[in-house]
Structures are given as structure tokens and as C-alpha cells.
């Protein structure tokens, strides 16, 4: 039905459009486009260069507009006539087209006869670079900023002059600083005058930004060369000693071989092939084939062949040494004139320490962030474990329930900010309820049987996980953070941390404060502490330990629910997310010490820092970091079986 309507609409469109379809095929801009028509349609970065250059250099007033709309994937081509048009999609099958000459509307047509040009991001970058000359002095600051982005991305020598021309006229202060900085960067890169380049390099002294390093590093590029005599000249970066760390002996020799000044070394495979080629009547070099099943025999056979002159002789170690000794191998600067390269190297060396310090700082931030996540995940566990001596294996599933609560709320309330504000208390309520129910129905009946509690809660964990799978499916669900949590706090190019992680950190601090307040300043906290220390005595003082246990368990679970929302925001919501955190949470509690919030805090910090620290040493394998961390914890327990902050006195015996 809808298809029919669509067809009717098409025809209406066609009727409407037909009279206006007259397009100016002879306009200069169209002619220029046609001249490069095939290249533009082919849309490959390798071949598109001349077309973009021609457009940019054409001086036509429409050129800028064409480039812009082409870049925005708004240019289409009439498959029949080959004419280019601008187009906007009305729906899946219809487009409204415009004439590139003058940007006048032609009408709405079916998109069947037109093919959209889809420049890839490489081409879009080139178009952006070409547009710079138009945009750098544009009245709109946003356009000028776009031009600066384009220069930062794909700097060209021609941009330097354009920037210098435009820099003076800039009235926006922020853009003016950016322009000035870019101008200095481009000076380093493209200026003809070495003195100006060195001055620009010196102006960046101590700046660890990535773009500075990205500009400087190509300048100190070197090439390995060799000569019979020690070379003279200031473009020699350093001489290399074969066999040293920078140049293994084999590589050094390969260099000589490649230049043809030394005979090639012969590999095992070459040797085998040579032997096979010399095989006559089942013997080679006086050896029978059956004997050649060891390398030693093959070497001997080959040596005999070499003596007989039937194969090339193998270079001996002594010959290799002699060849290497006869040459001096060195690195020559090829990125820039020696003076500039030396200045760049000096600047980079000076930055290096700073860069490393910043990296360390960034790692510390990461570690803190991870620690806060672990803390948030573990705090509920620490409470229940500490107060009741109960290990809740379903703790991870409470985290998951919280996250799914957040997801469901977002389905109902589309505004992300409000939905998060609703989701957090709701997640607390849901998991608080679940926790209380679990305590009353299961855990209460298994008092003093911690092992069985462990198993029973595990049964619940399995069941909850599968129920979540049955309800929500196994696909990861989106939990999207509000706009104000998007992005990162950027201190510099190296040190940055996303706002969502900061929010989690703040949340963790908040809970720490809240927990301390409740435990130390309120009646209920007093009762909880009393029950923790001695339930019987507390009971005889009129405190109902059952009620306290129930509330504590609910509180612990509720916090897990909130942690779930937070974790869902930064990572993912799946039915198995709880499993990712449960073991880490246990580690946190066990390392830190049971029954003490400070223990959980110290534990989380240690576990988080540890994990990041191991990642730092072994950056290519995050899995190894986790393995080593667990091993460390197992060993750590040997040293402090009760955790870092252990309870003392009677409570420790509980």
C-alpha cells in the first residue's frame, strides 16, 4: 500500500520537477567539473588531487560552494548526462536537486538516475585543505576554526603564507592564538629560512603537546649509511657499532650485502635448495641422500660442493667481521638541514622528561579512576561481608540489575539528564528491595554457615543472570550518558580524563562520605557497629540484629545498584557485566581487609594502581596484567592474611 503511494508521489515529483529540470550544462563551474568528471566520480585519494587543485585554483565564485557541498557528501551526479548537481535527500527514494552554478533549485526527483558522490575521509581532508584559502578570512569564526582544523590535519606549504596573511586581521582572541601557534608550527615545517625555523623550534621549548612533537620528530629522521672512511660533515647524527643494541650484527652485514660490497650469507633453506639442485644419482657432494638428515651433514656436503666450485662459498664469520671492520656505519639526518635537526633534537630531548612525567600523571589518573570503579563495586560487598560475615556471590548481579534499571528508565524517559537522575534512586530502590528479599528468604536461614551462604547466593546469581538474559536478550544494551558528561577534561595533550570517569570518582567519594556519616554519626550506624562487633550483646541491649542485618544487606545491595548505573554509563550493560566485577570486588575486599570501609578504599586503590602499573610495563597485553594481579593478591594474602586494614580483637574472630 505504502509502496503504491510512494510511486504516486514519485510521479507527482517527476511532474513537478520536469519543467524545472533544465540545468545549465555550459556554466564554467560545470564545465570544470566535467573536465575532471571521471576522476571525481572515481573518488580515490590517489587520483583526485588535480581535480581539487583545479577547483581551488579556478577562481570561480562557485568553486568554494562546490567544494563545501562535495565535502558534505551533498553532490550527486546524473548517471545519464554526467552532470553534477547538489542534492538534499527528502526520503529514501527522492532527492531535491540544485544547480551547482548559482546553487539554484531545480526540483525534487527520484534518486534512481543519480549517484551520490561519497568522498572518503581522506578526500574530505584534501578538500578541507583546499578550502582553507577561502575559509581563513571568512566572516564567520566557526568557518575560520574549520579552516584551522583542516590545516592542523593536513598542513601544506601553501598554508603558511595564507596563515601569515590572515593572522593579522583576526579579531577573535582564541582564534588569534591558535593561528599564531599554527603559524609557528608551519614555520618549523615549511619555512625556507633555517634561522626562522630554529627560532620557532625554540619558541616551543618545554611544550609537550602532541602536535609539537609531531612536527619536530620528522625533522630528526635519519638514514643508515656506510662508508669506508669515517664521514665528515655536520649532518651525521651518530656512528653505529655493529653488534650493538641499535644495530645487530646480522642487520649491519645485510646492509653491506644489499649494497653489493659483501657476499651474501647463505640461509639453511638456500643451502637445502642448492643441495637438491646438485643431487646426482642419490648422492650429493659425496654424501648419500639418506645421510643428509642433520644440519651438520648438510653443511659438510655443501662445503664439499663449494670446494669443488659448484656452489657459492659461504661467508665465514671471520670474513663477515672483516667486511664490517672495513666500513663505518653511521646515521645521517635526512629530515631537515643539520642545524634545524639538531635544534629539533635538542627541543625533543628537553621535552622528553616532561612527556614521561605527564604520562605517569595520566596513568595515575587512570589508576584512580579504576580504583574508584572497583571501590564503588566493592563497597556494598565490604559492608555485607564486614557486618554479617556473608559473602554475597550475587553482588555482581545486583550491579547488573542497577544497570538494567538505568536502561529501562532511559527507554521510558528520553531526556538523558532526567533519566539518570531518576535511574540512580530507582536503581537503589530496586536493588535494596532485592537485597532485603534475599536476606529474608535465604541468607537469614543460613546464619553461621558461610560456605553454604556462598553457594546459595551463587545459585541466585546464576538464576538472576539467566533471567536477565531471557528478558533483555544477550545483546549489550545502551546506557547513554547525558551531554554534560560527554567528552574529557583535557589538561594537556597527554593528561586527560573523561568526565564520566570524574563523575564516578565523585560518586565514590560521595559514598565514602555518606557511609562514614551513617556509620559514625547516626543511631542506625551505631547499631550496625554494635551488631558487627557482637551480635548477642547487641541483641541484649535491645537492638534487633535481624533488622540491622536486613537493612545492612539492603544498603549494600542498593549501593551495588547505583554502582551498576555508573558502570553501565562508562562501559556496557549486559547480563554478564556483574561477573566482570565480582572477582575484582572480592580481591578489593580481601586485600583491603574485611569489615572496614577504609580497607575497601585502600584495597581498591591498591588493586587499581597495581593493574594499571602492570599494564604500563606490559602495554601489549592487558590480559597478562590481570593474571599477574591475581597472582600478586594470592601471594599478598600470605603476608597479610586478614588484609591491609585488619580488624583487631574479638571482631576478628567472628
Amino acid at each position: 500500500m505504502s509502496k503504491i503511494i510512494r510511486h504516486i508521489l514519485f510521479c507527482l515529483n517527476c511532474l513537478l520537477a520536469a519543467p524545472a529540470l533544465a540545468q545549465d550544462a555550459g556554466a564554467p563551474i560545470q564545465e570544470l567539473l566535467q573536465a575532471h568528471g571521471d576522476v571525481i566520480a572515481k573518488s580515490s585519494r590517489k587520483t583526485i588531487g588535480p581535480a581539487i587543485d583545479a577547483l581551488a585554483a579556478s577562481g570561480l565564485s562557485a568553486a568554494q560552494r562546490v567544494l563545501e557541498r562535495w565535502q558534505a557528501k551533498e553532490m550527486w551526479r546524473d548517471e545519464e548526462s554526467g552532470l553534477f548537481v547538489f542534492a538534499e535527500e527528502i526520503d529514501r527514494d527522492t532527492i531535491r536537486i540544485f544547480d551547482p552554478a548559482g546553487d539554484t533549485e531545480i526540483g525534487a526527483v527520484a534518486d534512481d538516475g543519480y549517484k551520490q558522490l561519497k568522498p572518503n575521509s581522506g578526500i574530505r581532508g584534501m578538500i578541507g585543505a583546499a578550502l582553507v584559502q577561502f575559509q581563513l578570512s571568512a566572516p564567520d569564526p566557526a568557518t575560520r576554526a574549520t579552516a584551522l582544523d583542516a590545516i592542523e590535519r593536513d598542513p601544506e606549504a601553501s598554508h603558511l603564507a595564507a596563515l601569515r596573511k590572515a593572522a593579522g586581521a583576526e579579531d577573535d582572541a582564541a582564534l588569534r592564538t591558535r593561528k599564531a601557534r599554527l603559524e609557528r608550527l608551519l614555520t618549523i615545517r615549511f619555512d625556507e629560512d633555517d634561522a626562522a625555523r630554529i627560532a620557532a623550534i625554540e619558541s616551543f621549548a618545554g611544550d609537550p603537546a602532541v602536535d609539537v612533537r609531531a612536527t619536530l620528530n620528522p625533522l630528526i629522521a635519519t638514514r643508515i649509511e656506510f662508508a669506508a672512511e669515517a664521514p665528515q660533515g655536520d649532518d651525521i647524527a651518530r656512528t653505529l657499532k655493529p653488534g650493538g643494541g641499535a644495530l645487530p650484527r646480522a642487520d649491519a652485514y645485510a646492509l653491506l650485502v644489499a649494497a653489493g660490497v659483501a657476499p651474501p650469507a647463505i640461509t639453511r633453506a638456500d643451502k637445502r635448495d642448492a643441495l637438491v639442485a646438485q643431487l646426482r644419482d642419490g648422492t650429493v657432494g659425496g654424501y648419500r641422500v639418506a645421510q643428509l638428515d642433520t644440519e651438520a651433514a648438510r653443511d659438510a656436503a655443501y662445503a664439499r660442493l663449494a670446494e669443488a666450485g659448484r656452489v657459492a662459498a659461504v661467508a665465514t664469520d671471520a670474513e663477515i667481521d672483516a667486511a664490517l671492520a672495513a666500513h663505518v656505519i653511521f646515521e645521517r639526518f635526512i629530515g631537515a638541514p643539520p642545524a634545524v635537526a639538531l635544534a629539533a633534537r635538542g627541543a625533543l630531548d628537553a621535552i622528553e622528561t616532561k612527556v614521561n612525567l605527564n604520562r605517569a600523571a595520566d596513568l595515575v589518573l587512570d589508576a584512580l579512576s579504576l580504583a574508584s570503579i572497583y571501590f564503588l563495586a566493592a563497597i556494598g560487598l565490604a559492608i555485607t561481608f564486614g557486618v554479617m560475615g556473608v559473602i554475597n556471590m550475587a553482588h555482581g548481579e545486583f550491579i547488573m540489575m542497577g544497570a538494567y534499571t538505568g536502561y529501562v528508565v532511559q527507554q521510558i524517559i528520553p531526556d538523558y539528564t532526567i533519566s539518570i537522575l531518576v535511574a540512580i534512586p530507582l536503581a537503589f530502590a530496586v536493588t535494596f528491595g532485592a537485597g532485603v528479599a534475599m536476606e529474608r528468604l535465604v541468607i537469614r536461614w543460613l546464619r553461621h554457615r558461610p560456605l553454604e551462604t556462598l553457594l546459595a547466593t551463587f545459585g541466585i546469581s546464576i538464576a538472576l543472570q539467566q533471567i536477565a538474559k531471557n528478558i533483555f536478550g544477550t545483546q549489550a544494551r545502551p546506557l547513554t550518558s547525558p551531554d554534560w558528561l560527554d567528552g574529557s577534561l583535557v589538561l594537556n595533550d597527554i593528561v586527560s580524563i573523561s568526565y564520566i570517569r570524574i563523575a564516578i570518582f565523585v560518586l565514590a567519594l560521595l559514598f565514602l562520605g555518606l557511609f562514614l556519616f551513617v556509620m559514625n554519626r547516626t543511631r542506625i550506624g551505631l547499631e550496625v557497629r554494635a551488631v558487627t562487633q557482637n551480635p548477642r550483646m547487641a541483641g541484649s541491649m535491645g537492638i534487633n540484629p535481624d533488622r540491622i542485618n536486613m537493612l545492612t544487606f539492603g544498603l549494600g545491595s542498593g549501593i551495588a545498584g547505583i554502582a551498576g548505573v555508573a558502570i553501565g554509563l562508562y562501559a556496557k550493560v549486559t547480563s554478564e557485566m556483574g561477573q566482570d566485577y565480582i572477582v575484582q570486588s572480592f580481591m578489593t575486599v580481601v586485600v583491603g581487609g574485611v569489615g572496614n570501609i577504609w580497607g575497601a578504599l585502600v584495597g581498591a586503590t591498591l588493586v587499581g594502581t597495581m593493574q594499571k602499573g602492570i599494564e604500563w610495563f606490559n602495554p601489549s597485553n592487558t590480559l597478562a596484567a590481570q593474571t599477574y594481579m591475581i597472582l600478586f593478591i594470592i601471594l599478598f594474602i600470605q603476608v597479610r592474611p586478614r588484609g591491609i586494614i585488619a580488624l583487631k580483637g574479638r571482631a576478628a574472630e567472628a
Partner: protein
């Protein structure tokens, strides 16, 4: 049924003191005979080869459940890491199976070359074949003994035994007990599985070792026969294992470890080296688990690190708990019953349950049922299925006047202390 007397001064033979052992062994023998007669390989073909494999694997599960019962039901150590040992046994045997099978292929293929292959070339060829799929072509050091079946069989005993010994010594020495120990054993198996997941571990990472059902050099023998061999071997191992465990727990050693379970501190005060006993039980059960694994994985055909993830060990505890702790036949019943039921439900054969508009598909809901029934068993029937035997034999738990005797209410007691 276990007997209800303390070890009598006059030592009668084990099977007479414990009639349940004889009953069990008879049932096992009859079962083995029955399956053999019904199988495709040696009988009328009523049982398919794949089901023979399933049954053989179930027998291995029963064996590892025995080990779990010994360490948990008798000694009170809730180990959540015994499947790690099971997996290690599988890896040890798998390495030889894989190496030997590949060596034959490579030797055949290189025999066609013009020069006879050197030892190095053969080794390189095998490495490329085995590790090609994980993007490596060199033998890691752990494969040093893979060429030798006796050495790898020794590894089945030695590697898990050593690991258990070291881990147990570290843990028991520092008096880590109760839930702490459980968590620690879980951490151990998690660390091991994460380690094996890495390709750098040299055991093919996530892919693990596969093609284990093909015995090297026996390509012409059909799987229907091979599956029966393994079935018999598993039944034999279970029988021997059962006898061994029954012998172990029937003597003084058994009394001491039960006492450790019920009150560790008192046993220590009585002068027994509690840590030593625990260590022996822990290591011994690790070796039994490893032997079970070594028999299991050639039947399963593939072993990979997911097999030793913490969840596997927890299921092991579930089997033993549902079967009934502190009685050997309980563990066997639990493992056999739950794992076969699991196979049936997840196999899609179980009919859907229709509750009005709701249609419950067991594939989806079986895990929920398992989890909840596990909670129910813990709460309401801590003795598990083994409790039914008590009912039938009219064995009653003494009235404890509401007081808990020890931490482990589910485990069967030889005789309760008087209140």
C-alpha cells in the same frame, strides 16, 4: 550407605564394613556392561556413539565429583578451583595427542621431500601446524616433553599435584580458611584460565587443544570403538577411585579429616598437624581431578581455557551439594544426575512447558531452574539426594536441640557428638 559404627577394633574387609562400596561397584559394573551391549561399537547399537561419549564424560565428572566430595564434604575445604586441576590433566594429555598426531602428518608429508628431513625441520613443521592457527610457528618451552607419552602422563599427576601442593601450602600455612579460602581458590582458577587465554602461554590461547578424539596412529579404528575404550577406562577409573576414596575415609585418616571439617581448632589442640592433613587431601584430590580430566578431554575432543573458568568449579560444587556431601555415592549421584539432566534440558529435547499464555523453553529457563533448585537444596535439603538414602535406611540425624554442631550442616556425619 555408610556404616554407623566407629572404626571397629576387629578390621573386617573394607567392602564388608561399607556395603555401599560393593553396591556401588556392582551397579557401575552392570551399567558398564549394559552400555557396552547396547552400544554401536560392540553391541546392538541402541545407544549412539555420541551418547556413549556423553556417558563416558559423565563418568569422568563423577570421578572429579568424588574428589570434590573428599575435599569439601569430608575435609570442609570448599575449593572453588578443582576444575583447574581437571583442565590441567586434559591439557597434559592433549599436548601429547596433538603433538603425536601432527608429527605423523608432518613426517608423512616431509617423507616426500627430496632430502630426508632434519630433526629441526620436523620440529618446525609440527610447530607450524600446531601454532599456525594462533599466528606462531615455534615451540614454546612448555611443550618440551610433548613428544613422550609417559612423560606427559607423568605430568597429569605431577603438574596439578605440584600446583595444589604449593598453593595449598601457601594457603593453609597462613591459616586461610572458610570463605577466604574459597575465594582464593576461585582466584587461582581464574588466574590460570586468564593465563591460558593468552596466546603467549604457549597452549594456543582461546583455541586450546583440539582434535583430541583422534588417537594418533589409530585413524582406521572407528570412533564407535574408541568411544567405548574411553568409556571403559572412565568406568575403571571411577571404580578404582571410589574404592580408594572409600578406603581413605574409612580409616583413621578419614576420622581426622572429618574432625577437621567439624572443628578445626579442637583437632589442632589435640595435637594433629591440621595443615598437613589438609594439604594431603587437597593435593590428592587435585591429582584425582587431573586424572579425571585426562580421561575426559580425549572424549570431548577439545580443551580450552573456558573449561577452567571459575563457573566450572562452581558447578562442581553444585553437583556435590545436590548429590549429598560427605558420602561418596552422593557425589557420584549428583554429578551424574545433574550433568545428564543438564544435557537433556539444553539439548532442546525437553518438551516446552506451557503455562497458559506463557511458553517456557527449557533452553532458556533450565539455568534458572538449576540456580533456584540449588538454593532450595541448600535451604531445605542440605543433605541433597543422598538424604533420600538416609530416609530409606531410616537413619535420623540426632536432635541437636536447635544448636548447630559445626559450619557444615549438609555433610553426613558418622556419628553425632552428644549435646
Amino acid at each position: 550407605m555408610s556404616d554407623m559404627t566407629l572404626s571397629a577394633p576387629a578390621r573386617r574387609p573394607l567392602v564388608l564394613r561399607h556395603p555401599s562400596v560393593l553396591v556401588f561397584l556392582t551397579i557401575l559394573a552392570l551399567f558398564t556392561l549394559g552400555v557396552t551391549l547396547l552400544s554401536e561399537g560392540a553391541g546392538i547399537g541402541a545407544i549412539s556413539t555420541s551418547f556413549v561419549k556423553t556417558l563416558g564424560k559423565t563418568l569422568c565428572f563423577c570421578l572429579v565429583a568424588l574428589a570434590m566430595d573428599l575435599v569439601w564434604g569430608y575435609c570442609g575445604i570448599l575449593s572453588l578451583g578443582h576444575m583447574a586441576f581437571f583442565g590441567l590433566g586434559g591439557y597434559a594429555v592433549g599436548m601429547w595427542l596433538m603433538y603425536e598426531r601432527t608429527r605423523m602428518i608432518v613426517a608423512d608429508s616431509l617423507a616426500a621431500a627430496e632430502l630426508p628431513p632434519t630433526a629441526q625441520e620436523i620440529s618446525d613443521g609440527i610447530a607450524t601446524q600446531i601454532f599456525g592457527v594462533v599466528g606462531a610457528s615455534e615451540f614454546p618451552p612448555v611443550w618440551a616433553f610433548a613428544h613422550s607419552l609417559p612423560l606427559q602422563l607423568a605430568a597429569v599427576v605431577v603438574v596439578p599435584g605440584l600446583l595444589a601442593l604449593v598453593f595449598g601450602w601457601l594457603a593453609f600455612r597462613s591459616r586461610v580458611t572458610g570463605v577466604y579460602l574459597s575465594i582464593l581458590t576461585q582466584a587461582m582458577t581464574l588466574a590460570l584460565s586468564l593465563y591460558l587465554f593468552q596466546n603467549d602461554s604457549g597452549l594456543r590461547g582461546n583455541n586450546g587443544l583440539s582434535g583430541l578424539q583422534n588417537l594418533p596412529g589409530l585413524d582406521d579404528i572407528p570412533q564407535s570403538a574408541v568411544s567405548l575404550w574411553f568409556f571403559w577406562a572412565s568406568a575403571l577409573a571411577l571404580g578404582v577411585g571410589y574404592l580408594f576414596c572409600a578406603w581413605l575415609v574409612s580409616g583413621k585418616f578419614g576420622s581426622v579429616i572429618r574432625a577437621i571439617r567439624d572443628d578445626e581448632t579442637r583437632v589442632r589442640f589435640l595435637g594433629y598437624p591440621v595443615e598437613g592433613f589438609k594439604l594431603v587431601v587437597f593435593t590428592l584430590t587435585a591429582v584425582i581431578a587431573s586424572i579425571a580430566g585426562a580421561l575426559y578431554y580425549p572424549q570431548a575432543g577439545i580443551i580450552n581455557p573456558a573449561e577452567i573458568a571459575p563457573i566450572a568449579s562452581i558447578y562442581l560444587a553444585v553437583w556435590v551439594a545436590i548429590g549429598g556431601r560427605g558420602r561418596l555415592y552422593g557425589a557420584v549421584i549428583g554429578a551424574g544426575f545433574v550433568s545428564l539432566l543438564s544435557t537433556w534440558f539444553t539439548g532442546g529435547q525437553a518438551p516446552d512447558l506451557v503455562l497458559g499464555p506463557l511458553r517456557i523453553q527449557w533452553v532458556d529457563w533450565w539455568t534458572v531452574l538449576l540456580g533456584l533448585s540449588f538454593v532450595a537444596v541448600t535451604l531445605f535439603a542440605p543433605k541433597g539426594i543422598g538424604g533420600l538414602v538416609d530416609l530409606a535406611a531410616r537413619i535420623k540425624s540426632p536432635d541437636r536441640h536447635g544448636a548447630d554442631l559445626g559450619p557444615d550442616a549438609g555433610a553426613l556425619r558418622e556419628r553425632e557428638a552428644d549435646q
